[in-house]
């Protein structure tokens, strides 16, 4: 197993061109070299609207199994370059069989939703400890105890529909109080509800942006162990939708994204001028804002945690890969159930 967390190169500079130079990638803009880095250190490359890789670079990355993802200026997924489908056809067959079996889907989905609830709850509980307003603490604790009730109901959820229902209720509880974890003047970073396509406030713009990046990391994790990122268990199959990546992501939303977003806001690293309002009331991050957020996210991925099941130290960024591996082991029949990632309280 590769113990190394390979880096991701994000190219945001409009008009930037990345080309293959020997065993390195060379990024240029307006005739100036922005960066030259050995491909050896890179696990994936992400291009934002207006930046492009050369054809030889795409071919080389596809051949090595290094993912290239294209996002538009707002961070929405556009396209992905993949090489020949390799790996284990038996594993994918097992995945398709499990995906077509309602009972097994519900089992995997239940484990994932339980971890999502636990991880979200940990974040709210920590927020309640630091919250300065009595009213906020109260609301956070109340949401946590409701989520605890949902958690105890989960083992009895025998169909996928019921599991999805629990997940929906938990998400509503979570987002209804998340604003209380923010310690900034409400005029700057108010959060009332989750809004997407498009995000309608600054917090939602931050969340949407990093969830898109996390999705692309989870697609990479699924591909990395030879799973089909489109065939999920909790999320329904739909053309073009990376359902399995969305499944894997559920455990990591709170510990990988929400935590980074709240940290950036509460430490006053992200500022109102990192956002712009578009006609129609949608809110987008500026180029500088995105750079800041991506750096914080990449730094967070380097932090090490002890995996609760594997009992190994691993960088946070490797967690989706470790979980994809555990899922593959379950699908192959080596593990009786899928063991999701639950962050230490």
């Amino acid at each position: 197993m590769s113990r190394e967390l390979l880096n991701t190169l994000f190219v945001l500079t409009p008009g930037a061109y990345a080309r293959l130079d020997g065993d390195t990638v060379r990024v240029e803009a307006q005739g100036e070299r922005l960066l030259q880095a050995p491909l050896l250190h890179l696990g994936s490359l992400v291009f934002f609207g207006g930046a492009t890789p050369s054809a030889p670079l795409m071919e080389r990355c596809a051949r090595d199994g290094r993912g290239i993802t294209f996002l538009d200026g707002a961070g929405r997924f556009q396209a992905r370059v993949v090489g020949p489908t390799g790996g284990n056809v038996l594993l994918r067959t097992a995945q398709y069989e499990a995906g077509a079996d309602a009972g097994r889907c519900a089992d995997v989905a239940r484990a994932m939703v339980a971890a999502k609830l636990r991880n979200g709850r940990s974040l709210l509980l920590r927020g309640a400890r630091d919250c300065r307003s009595e009213e906020g603490r109260e609301a956070l604790r109340e949401a946590c105890s409701s989520m605890a009730v949902l958690l105890t109901a989960l083992p009895g959820a025998d169909s996928l529909e019921v599991v999805r229902g629990v997940e929906g209720q938990a998400a509503a509880l979570y987002f209804a109080v998340l604003g209380h974890v923010i310690s900034r003047p409400p005029a700057e970073f108010a959060f009332r509800a989750r809004t997407r396509r498009p995000p309608r406030d600054r917090v939602n713009a931050l969340l949407s942006f990093l969830y898109a990046i996390l999705t692309s990391d989870c697609v990479g994790a699924a591909e990395g162990v030879g799973l089909d990122p489109q065939v999920g268990f909790l999320h329904a199959i739909r053309p073009g939708r990376p359902s399995l990546a969305l499944d894997l992501m559920e455990e990591f939303r709170a510990p990988l994204v929400d935590r980074v977003v709240l940290g950036l806001i509460n430490r006053r690293q992200v500022r109102p001028e990192h956002f712009e309002e578009r006609p129609g009331g949608s809110v987008m991050m500026t180029d500088d804002g995105r750079r800041l957020v991506l750096r914080a996210y990449q730094e967070h991925k380097q932090e090490e945690v002890v995996h609760p099941f594997l009992k190994e130290r691993a960088p946070v960024g490797l967690l989706p890969h470790l979980q994809a591996r555990l899922l593959a082991r379950h699908l192959r029949g080596d593990l009786p159930s899928y063991l999701p990632y639950v962050a230490r309280q």
Partner: protein, 96 residues
């Protein structure tokens, strides 16, 4: 592991200039140029082994000189730099 690679390739002949270009190219693929013929690389053990073999295969042992210094400790602790420095940590966030 963190290493420093320094080389001297005899460029009196055409063949020597060819070797120099190849050695430099190989070094770029594994690390970064910090001085004209000095590279710093941060490599996993298996990559280091690949790199070492590649370099040893490229040089002419009668004409050239290749040195690899292994740095014990974190780079910040064992490397001190004065003057121009364009060092990039390839493990830190890469956002351009």
């Amino acid at each position: 592991m963190n290493i420093v690679v320094a080389y001297d390739v005899n460029t009196e002949t055409r063949e020597g200039r060819r070797r120099l270009r190849k050695v430099a190219k190989a070094c770029e693929g594994f690390g970064q140029r910090v001085q004209y013929s000095v590279f710093e690389c941060s490599l996993a053990d298996t990559d280091f082994e690949r790199f070492r073999r590649k370099l040893v295969g490229l040089i002419d042992t009668d004409e050239d000189s290749l040195r690899i210094y292994t740095l014990r400790g974190r780079r910040e602790e064992v490397v001190r730099v004065w003057g121009r420095d364009g060092y990039v940590d390839f493990r830190a966030p890469l956002v351009v």
